[in-house]
Symmetry: D3
Subunit: 244 residues, 6 copies
């Protein structure tokens, strides 16, 4: 059930306490992939998992702008502060819980959101009348996860499968050649860079030519399966502050 | 140019300082219209105006959740606090301005957002490096504006024209019969109610049967024309704090 | 019962749960009317209504500074941010409610306060142990309300009746001649201006010469009567968060 | 020049950078003195000093509610959080400075405000474009300062002189007999109490019968003289952040 | 029991609801005493009192940075805003109370912290599930308290006794000769200065040569005795919001 | 140069812009290791690196309480909210930068602090007049990093080397036997647990018997070497907001 497409009277008929909140970003993904890549991919995974899940799951409208200031040097990138982002997610989860959908998976499509989502999920789960946990799709695709870059093979592949019209196939060579191989500017295990343009000329990390619609289908299946399993686990959690 | 559909390299080619930020809401619109009504309508108006405008205009992804706590009694309604909402809008406008799109119209589809948008637009325009102003489409349709309710003729008509598949035509009679004629619970000019269910049983205000796809087209044209005129006026404004 | 004039032992004797909080502003009102116009007028209406009401009503000391940054170009105008203003009102209402006066009308004299007062009243009424609602006197004077400007006939008239020594009668011609006819700099229904000096040279909107002490008496009676009726309605409300 | 009584055009004629902001409180002062005691006394001192000062001084409208939660057990006491109070004072001082009155004395009538005023004055003077400093009248009356209680001889005397109609002379015996001799519930130098009703039955500390209109005149003169001297010192300060 | 030195299993064995939170500062103390003076002294007093107290007392790790912006002109001085400082103290006290140590004395070594500690203690004691009260050691040494300066005899003496290696004895003459006699730049009872370098060349107030290890022992004994007495008084307090 | 041990006059003599801010935590580390483990270890690494670095480095006093609410079920654990923690770190770094030490490494000893430190370092480095970057010692010990648990071999070993008196060697068997092998309660890559007691009985993760003083020396050397290299890299960074 996509909330925004239903009426309130239909929403009221749902018999579930499970909800998915897709969390995207509007940020550069190289010369070949759209600024909305993370939102599209998060929505695709959420939608597939909701379809496959053996039970009702509510899907909220995606958060379209996230923690992306690090991409500010690239035109079109939008962002909020981490604090605003957390407040927004917490408020939305609170209103979901108000209607009884109080076990919420934050289906995330952007690496920059991960830490802020974990923090706000902890605050919600410890102190509010809800349980929330983040799920980042590209961390849940088995061994493929190690190929994650930025605008690289994984993200491009999922777009090629689920939203193929959004990828500029004719720019893949250029995307690969002017990108970088690794995220960050590292000294030991410390990333010295706070802006992506410090280490990638065109915003790309990884070789998007290694992506394909077939790979995209594989990734989508893997991520959605993992999310379905997570929904089962989340359904068994008890929302609300602990009584000690 | 819809930001989320473009690559950053294409976004960088735009030669404009004008942007539209559609602002919606996810909230009950009666038994016949979807929870996403306000977002869909704001996007429709923004898109039409951007198409018609004689010059480039950037369109940001819509804000999907707004100031809607007053509808909390109706299932599926989502909301943030006014404070979170303002922070979100301010941050997004700030990032638009960072790329040179520093004259921004907030294209609004929800009455409950109006005051918060005016407040944040004032803060931006007086203190940030941008100029922003809110535009609420149903206030800009001439004499039709007086028919505005909630889930009533205007909102329903625009959906019937621009997103007809979202309207449950078979529920219009029920929507009309169990709604109310007027927004609020009034003593003189004071609305005593802070929750919509205090004055409408099914969430509807006004008679949605008075809407039609034809009326929707008329409304869309009127609102988009008004927005185009506004863009001309905004283009002439000087962003940034005043020097006195 | 004006709180500030009574002792706590006398305050404790009151048998009511009704309170009035006058909310003013210190801001330019043209060359003829004092910067404290809005406070004086809000106090006058609150006092008259409290006298006329058939029952006890507590009157709190007026909030002297409000949301008036738009008048900053005119000397002597004071303001707080909207956020500070709301916090102040919420805290004061909270302490009124602490003593059992938990149904509070915010008797407002300034248009710039309206949106912020509605927002904070909603927050109080939905989430705190009190019910609060704003009442703006010049919106409650029947057909006269359409003559509202700024430092124009209505505000000047009420001063001429209730605080005549504060009006410079000899400057009324100048006030009228260098003012403007309409509030704002409009493109369609959108006010492009965030500062009053963008559309009025001397700060005046409307012709204060149309005011008179007689009109002031009429306005005061009308507004106080409306406020008395509102007190009856508010007395019937149940403060505190809803149990759903 | 009392800002609220003047027009903006007259305010604009002032040739000074000095301002006084009276800061009061609405809180119990025993059975004999009004809840508005601190505001009345702060205003009296500010007014006298402004009259006596050899030069122009702007007087802003008094802050009527302050840091008084410790008196919450006594009916009619109003308060804001310390944080709201500081924000309010900082915003008002900021708007005074906007008009060129950027050297501001916070003329305080309430002991509970002292720490919060010193903190906000430090913030303003170090970081804003203004210089502000608090002045508490009963600390500036020479050896009389040691008689300060609460609703005791000093505060009562100043009321008896400047606002005699507000004092219930017939309740002075009762006030004295059911009050306490000392503020606080002390263990060594630590006040264990956070509520005044922990150590005073009727809210009074000290014997108000030791006050008189004559003493009030003496106190007013002493405090106003000290404030005049302070204005000279403040006039010599340089507002705005330090350049190091 | 020093929390940081014990394991959680040992901490769990404590049978007390009393805790001490030493609160220091990192700030200049002249050319002869270390920047950590206030922290060292607060810890010394807390430790001695915990040892002497007839019962268990938990000692939390000291807050090392406090409200010290006034010393910013002197190298090495660290500070947080008052607001951050209060939040930090409130959070730490909240976690102490979570484990049952809900009667907390804030053992303070820095004058600049006093007001902020009193404010946060009030907030905790009135609204949280704990009772907290500040204790400033140099205010609790009898008649010696009147010799308090800054880096002067009292603070230097306590260092000489408890941490003698930290004092540069060979710089005491220089410290005394380039310091000042009195804290502040006074007009009447108002301190005009917000920065210590406005009234002391080398940061010292008072003559540190009047200190000695013997005096330090005397001070430590006096302060610790006072703190022991306070612990008895605090043990008798009831934590948590009042029921009225 | 340890700031708290030096006088301001000595601090002023330093000729460096490099600073280390150790960041610890007070939280359970099993039955064998002290609650202050993370602070002790962060300090040990910072101290060693400062000693070894070929140039001056300022060392600030350690932050003793961090982001540790997840350990709240274990007695003695202290924590602040993430927001308070970030504010505290940002303020301290700001005051370091005020004195010219504007390139700061946050030397961290606690996994729960990592995300919050990265966030605040980004805010500082992008928007303040400083450059800051977090360094977590156990991530910088080569292949040993994979043995990191909680109160496990790495943390215990570093204590055994640098602070051997703090480890209860006689409890290591018990610590190992009642701990768990892995941090978290996992469904795929998602940790479902927000409290450590959901997956470890005594708070331990990993087998502390695998630690030793020799291993501790190895770890300290490795971490300090990595930090020395990082200091070289940080010295080459340009603090302050980017000019684009």
């Amino acid at each position: 059930m996509h909330i925004e497409s239903e009426t309130w009277t239909d929403a009221e008929q749902t018999e579930t306490n499970l909800a998915l909140l897709p969390v995207g970003s509007t940020e550069q993904h190289g010369p070949h992939a759209p600024l909305g890549t993370d939102t599209l991919n998060a929505e695709a995974v959420a939608e597939r998992a909701a379809d496959e899940y053996d039970g009702e799951v509510v899907v909220a409208p995606a958060v379209p702008v996230g923690v992306a200031e690090e991409h500010r040097a690239f035109s079109g990138t939008l962002w909020t502060s981490e604090s605003t982002f957390r407040d927004y997610v917490r408020d939305v989860v609170g209103s979901l819980a108000h209607h009884g959908w109080d076990r919420v998976v934050l289906v995330n499509g952007h690496g920059g959101n991960i830490a802020a989502l974990r923090e706000v999920a902890g605050r919600i789960s410890r102190h509010d009348e809800a349980y929330a946990v983040p799920f980042t799709w590209f961390d849940e695709v088995g061994e493929h996860s190690s190929d994650m870059g930025h605008g690289g093979p994984l993200e491009t592949a999922l777009l090629q499968h689920a939203n193929p019209e959004t990828v500029h196939e004719d720019r893949l060579d250029s995307a690969a050649e002017n990108g970088s191989e690794r995220w960050g500017d590292w000294q030991g295990r410390v990333n010295l860079a706070f802006d992506a343009d410090e280490f990638t000329e065109n915003g790309v990390v990884g070789d998007p030519r290694e992506g394909s619609a077939e790979l995209g289908e594989t990734l989508l299946t893997a991520a959605a399966d993992a999310l379905v399993d997570l929904l089962d686990a989340v359904a068994a959690r008890q929302p609300g502050p602990r009584d000690d």
